[in-house]
């Protein structure tokens, strides 16, 4: 074949290699530009100014711990997606599942009354290979660095202002689930699992054309709040999330929660060292808590709660309600004891504050798995030894009960109906 027979094919075969010298020149210029950019950035004011009227260290510490669970929620998947729009909704989850790492921002605002707003601004680093890291800021202060490894069963949360750290124990199964599913995908799945979504008008966010859906369902975010709704905005160009907005109420409506997840840096270049806690030698342990979601951990969490509240249980086992109620109870207890709110919680007190999250995790898991779970913390106290505090299905015709005195019993459905009757008639 003569060269002229297929000139186009020949042209496509032309291939030079960039020299090492060019590589160095380009990479050096990029490095110099990045350094210059960082220096410029450092003298600019941060776009988001943290505001809070919460002054005491107690709510601050509780706030630091409160969202430890928010990164661990696992939810079911039902493949129901909107159709006929610019966004290929079926591709959104597929695209997110292909992501091996990302960095994003999460802003959590908890409002407990007029002028009682608490904001926590977090940066999350996620890697399917290395795990999760969350740096949280309260006002402008770094209050928490949370590390959950992809392997192993212990998460670590550093509290720099106190020079302390919390160790949280998970089961291997939980850690594996976190590594495999990565909770950001689970959050997207949570939006995708409902039939009764509402399609929102397209709009532009930071110059990016997006389309959105809104989910308003009583099961939405069940482990986070009593009743919630959310909006998911996805870029038309990439079919990847741009913004997630979650809002809900807890504690009978007295607590409002807004969560904004945005500023995604998909497939960010993350290293193993980004996920190593490297606990400083002068840090001491603040608490060791079991968040494995075992029945024992649930009972320990509930018992710890009653020690602060003089026998009361959380009215609801969503994380926001329990956090709010334990915080109020803790402050009330301090006042009753004549102790200053500035006095740091003891290790035992912190473990009581944090351990209730194990119960919340377990409750959320049962809801997710449709285990016919019921919880009566608003009607049952530690003194109600024979009343059903919580129950859930463990097999086709068998339920497990936790009574008011935290004893447990496995019973048939018929027996459960009999034992549960007094609570239901209250």
């Amino acid at each position: 074949m003569r060269p002229s027979d297929n000139i186009n094919e020949l042209i496509k075969k032309l291939q030079l290699k960039a020299s090492a010298e060019l590589d160095k020149r380009v990479h050096d210029d990029i490095s110099a530009a990045l350094t210059k950019s960082e220096k410029t950035k450092s003298v600019q004011p941060e776009p988001n100014i943290w505001r809070t009227i919460m002054k005491s260290k107690i709510p601050k510490l509780a706030a630091a711990a409160v969202i430890i669970i928010a990164v661990l929620i696992g939810l079911n998947v039902i493949d129901v997606f909107p159709n006929g729009s610019g966004v290929a909704w079926g591709e959104v989850l597929n695209n997110v599942q292909k992501i091996k790492s990302c960095i994003h921002r999460m802003r959590l605002t908890v409002t407990t009354g007029p002028e009682k707003t608490q904001d926590i601004n977090s940066t999350l680093y996620r890697s399917t290979e290395y795990g999760i890291r969350r740096d949280s800021y309260f006002k402008d202060e770094l209050i928490s660095k949370l590390y959950i490894p992809a392997e192993g069963n212990t998460g670590v949360e550093l509290v720099p202002s106190e020079k302390k750290y919390v160790e949280a124990v998970f089961t291997d199964e939980q850690i594996k689930e976190i590594a495999q599913k990565n909770d950001l995908k689970e959050l997207v799945k949570e939006f995708m699992r409902y039939n009764n979504y509402t399609k929102l008008d397209s709009k532009t966010i930071d110059g990016i054309e997006v389309e959105g859906i809104e989910v308003d369902n009583e099961q939405f975010g069940a482990a986070l709040f009593e009743r919630g709704k959310g909006r998911l905005w996805v870029a038309v160009e990439t079919d990847l999330p741009v913004l997630m907005e979650l809002e809900g109420v807890s504690a009978g409506g007295s607590v409002q929660i807004n969560m904004v997840v945005d500023e995604f840096d998909w497939n960010a270049n993350l290293q193993a060292s980004d996920f190593e806690p490297n606990i400083p030698s002068d840090y001491t342990v603040m608490a060791k808590v079991d968040l494995s979601g075992s029945v024992e951990a649930v009972i320990k969490g509930l018992r710890g709660f009653t020690q602060i509240t003089a026998g009361q249980y959380p009215s609801n086992l969503d994380i926001m309600t329990t956090s709010q109620e334990i915080r109020e109870a803790f402050i009330a207890l301090r006042k009753k004891q004549g102790r200053s709110l500035d006095e740091k919680p003891t290790k035992e007190e912190m473990e009581n504050i944090l351990s209730i999250q194990g119960a919340c995790m377990f409750y959320g898991k049962l809801v997710k798995e449709n285990k016919d779970v019921a919880y009566y913390g608003d009607k049952v106290t530690a003194q109600d030894v024979d009343k059903v505090l919580m129950r859930w299905k463990i097999s086709d015709n068998e339920y497990r009960i936790i009574f008011g005195d935290l004893s447990t019993l496995d019973v048939s459905a018929e027996k459960l109906a009999e034992l549960e009757k007094p609570v239901l008639e209250q």
Partner: protein
């Protein structure tokens, strides 16, 4: 395509570090394009370097549209065109009056990289008028549509298609030995 979308996405979100990934992915194709346009590997690398320096200096508000490869090829072509024009002007010859560029595709460097057949092609390419060579390479090597090339060269699409046909005819003739 997801990978390119992600690169564009990150770049548009102000992540300049992503330039390293873009550079690594397309550097060889861009150096090849620039070298084929300029017939000079050293100048080609200068062009690719300048393109990425411009990228680095772009503001966060900068937006990429279309394909990443097409955009980079256009940047390289524009830069190469300017460099070629400057070279001609320096030599006192207007671009549109320029005779075909003197090839350096006989150089040991080209010979080592390309086999005889490709070296022959490279030499022939160097004898095409610059605009014809540019159209042929952007369309064939980079897969750009005539419409996009017309926009890049600020001429009509008919002119671009004409340059493409002339370029192919001349190459065919040269490679068949009808024109030395």
């Amino acid at each position: 395509m997801l990978e390119d979308k992600l690169l564009i996405w990150k770049f548009n979100r102000g992540n300049r570090n992503v330039l390293r990934g873009i550079y690594e992915k397309y550097k060889d194709d861009l150096v090849t394009l620039a070298a084929a346009l300029l017939n000079d590997v050293s100048s080609a690398e200068d062009v690719v370097h300048d393109v990425f320096v411009s990228f680095v200096e772009s503001s966060r508000k900068f937006r990429l549209t279309g394909t990443l490869k097409g955009y980079l090829a256009t940047c390289v072509a524009n830069n190469a065109r300017n460099k070629n024009k400057a070279r001609r002007t320096h030599r006192g010859i207007a671009l549109d009056q320029a005779s075909p560029a003197q090839m350096d595709s006989n150089s040991p460097e080209f010979h080592a990289i390309f086999g005889e057949e490709l070296r022959q092609l490279s030499r022939a390419l160097g004898q095409l008028p610059y605009e014809q060579r540019e159209v042929l390479l952007l369309h064939t090597y980079n897969g750009m549509k005539f419409k996009a090339i017309a926009r890049q060269q600020s001429v009509s699409i008919n002119t671009v298609q004409g340059r493409y046909r002339y370029a192919l005819d001349k190459l065919r003739s040269m490679l068949n030995g009808e024109i030395k």
